[in-house]
């Protein structure tokens, strides 16, 4: 498995066109397996994530994508024999706790905290004084489409807004590596497109590395430098597709021939795996 050396944004983010620069590896996963009782979720998964890269992950439901994120977030140890390297150093999964900003599939907002207080949860625990954290978050609210909602409680928000609060909480917890598990899953198509462009903006401005799970193939190509296709359970990488499309990316991109051709390749790979997964679960 080779890491394609292609348009990886580097530290100076003045790039408006694809840069060809060798990325230093931020995260290297080798032979990661995970078994829950008699369910094998992951089996020998290998992946390398370059610093500053935006990598999207697609795969059939239940193939182990969230499990992979739990490992990279440090919440679960993989089975013996796995090799994890972060910033070039070998480590255990648990050493990654607190070093990765993780947005789980559910928003997990705390019902007793207002929007603003949910957003600052992570930085507050890092020790930032509450007033300072609130002021910082207040400035970011409009960017996340939440202006004026700071005093609302989660049960007063729509699903999409809740997800944006969770996203904001993740962004405020500034770490080199961000794990986003279907962050736009609950958004309507229009907001979703806006959030995608916004995310690309923020990513280029803030010099983050992003691993992004999605079920939407268009989204995977539109956002990613690379798309990883995970096989049906037990999950490993089936296909690693470089997306050599220029940045910044605009709405017109999705109708370009290059985009369509990438999409065809991806859909074929995913369909094959989805069929397997479907047959495995229905017994046909």
């Amino acid at each position: 498995m080779s890491l394609p050396l292609k348009n990886v944004p580097t530290a100076d983010h003045q790039n408006t066109s694809p840069q060809v620069a060798p990325a230093s590896t931020l995260l290297d996963l080798g032979g990661v397996s995970k078994t829950f009782g008699n369910v094998q979720a992951l089996s020998g998964l290998n992946a390398r994530i370059g610093t500053g890269e935006f990598v999207t992950v697609v795969g059939p439901s239940g193939c182990g994508k969230s499990t992979l994120f739990n490992i990279v977030a440090g919440l679960e140890e993989p089975d013996d024999g796995a090799g994890i390297q972060f910033r070039g150093q070998s480590c255990k999964a648990r050493d990654l706790l607190g070093n990765v900003s993780f947005m789980p599939q559910q928003d997990l907002l705390l019902p007793w905290r207002t929007v603003i207080d949910n957003a600052i949860l992570a930085i507050e625990m890092e020790g930032m004084p509450k007033a300072e954290a609130r002021a910082l978050a207040l400035k970011m609210l409009p960017e996340f489409g939440l202006a004026g909602f700071e005093k609302q409680y989660p049960n007063q928000l729509s699903g999409g807004m809740r997800q944006r609060v969770a996203l904001m909480r993740t962004f405020l917890f500034k770490r080199d590596l961000m794990l986003l598990d279907e962050p736009f899953g609950a958004l309507d198509a229009l907001t979703r497109t806006m959030m995608q462009r916004w995310l690309l903006d923020v990513w280029q401005k803030h010099n983050r590395t992003i691993l992004f799970i999605t079920h939407d193939v268009d989204e995977a190509i539109f956002l990613g430098d690379r798309v990883l296709v995970v096989t049906a359970r037990p999950g490993k990488i089936k296909l690693e597709l470089p997306v050599n499309l220029p940045r910044p990316r605009g709405a017109e991109l999705v109708t370009s021939p290059e985009f369509i051709s990438l999409k065809r390749t991806l859909l074929e790979a995913i369909e094959e795996e989805s069929m397997k997964s479907f047959q495995a679960t229905t017994g046909h």
Binding site: L75, G98, S101, F102, P104, P111, W112, E126, Y153, F173
Partner: protein, 251 residues
């Protein structure tokens, strides 16, 4: 909005029930011409409450102080103990069976010992109430602290939170509904335990008044003290319920 109208509806039903009870009571007393030692009339009791005003006030004040002090101490200790045991799971495995064993005996059974150790004054009542309230709140808090969503705990862990932060920012707020409902039922329980302990030995308080009146075969006074106790219990319960609704607004 909906819950508000429910609350006022509840109040109406409560008032209606009370009125019905008064009518039945007064009706029974008059219809069957019951003697006062079986059941005095309500009017008679109310008149005696006014007559005994200062005695009742002093006694009520004393009982309330004991009940509320014990309630506060017991709740605080119960919550604190639950937090400590949640932080140290090994300790929890050791202590929980003992706690359940102690709690399975009615607290009042310990009253003679507590009177022996702490004397006839207010201290023994406060200790008894603390025990009664403390165990109830402790067991609920322990259950509540365990109820936080696994995934939320993981989220906080991914932010680098230590167990103390997870308790403070997640587990304790998540346990509040259960703690609060235990504290709500403990209001009346604390009054009962204070009164019963006073009956077993005290220098004052409603339980003592009831005991003395019984010795003097003054059943109107017994009922006057019971009425005072009910009234205060009701106020205590109402106040705590109100605070509960304010604090646990997200339910």
């Amino acid at each position: 909005m909906k819950s508000r109208s429910w609350q006022s509806a509840d109040v109406y039903w409560g008032v209606a029930g009370a009125v019905l009870l008064v009518v039945l009571w007064e009706g029974a007393v008059r219809a069957f011409d019951l003697p006062a030692y079986i059941l005095p009339g309500i009017l008679e009791i109310l008149v005696s409450m006014v007559d005994l005003q200062s005695t009742l006030m002093d006694a009520t004040w004393m009982t309330v102080m004991e009940a509320v002090s014990g309630y506060v101490i017991g709740s605080a200790c119960g919550i604190l103990l639950a937090v400590i045991l949640t932080l140290i799971p090994t300790l929890k495995r050791w202590c929980l069976p003992a706690a359940i064993a102690i709690n399975s005996v009615p607290v009042v059974a310990y009253a003679p010992l507590v009177l022996l150790w702490f004397g006839m004054g207010a201290e023994s009542k406060i200790v008894m109430v603390s025990l009664a309230v403390g165990f109830t709140v402790f067991l609920s808090a322990l259950t509540g602290l365990d109820q936080a969503n696994r995934k939320s705990i993981d989220l906080l862990r991914s932010f680098g939170a230590n167990p103390l932060m997870i308790i403070w920012r997640l587990k304790l707020p998540a346990a509040l509904p259960l703690i609060a409902s235990a504290m709500r039922v403990s209001t009346t329980r604390s009054m009962i335990v204070a009164i019963v302990t006073e009956m077993l030995g005290a220098y004052g308080g409603l339980g003592w008044v009831i005991y003395q009146a019984t010795l003097q075969i003054d059943f109107v006074q017994v009922w006057a003290a019971i009425f005072a106790a009910s009234l205060v219990s009701l106020i205590f319960f109402g106040a705590v319920s109100m605070i509960e609704r304010k604090v646990i607004f997200w339910r």
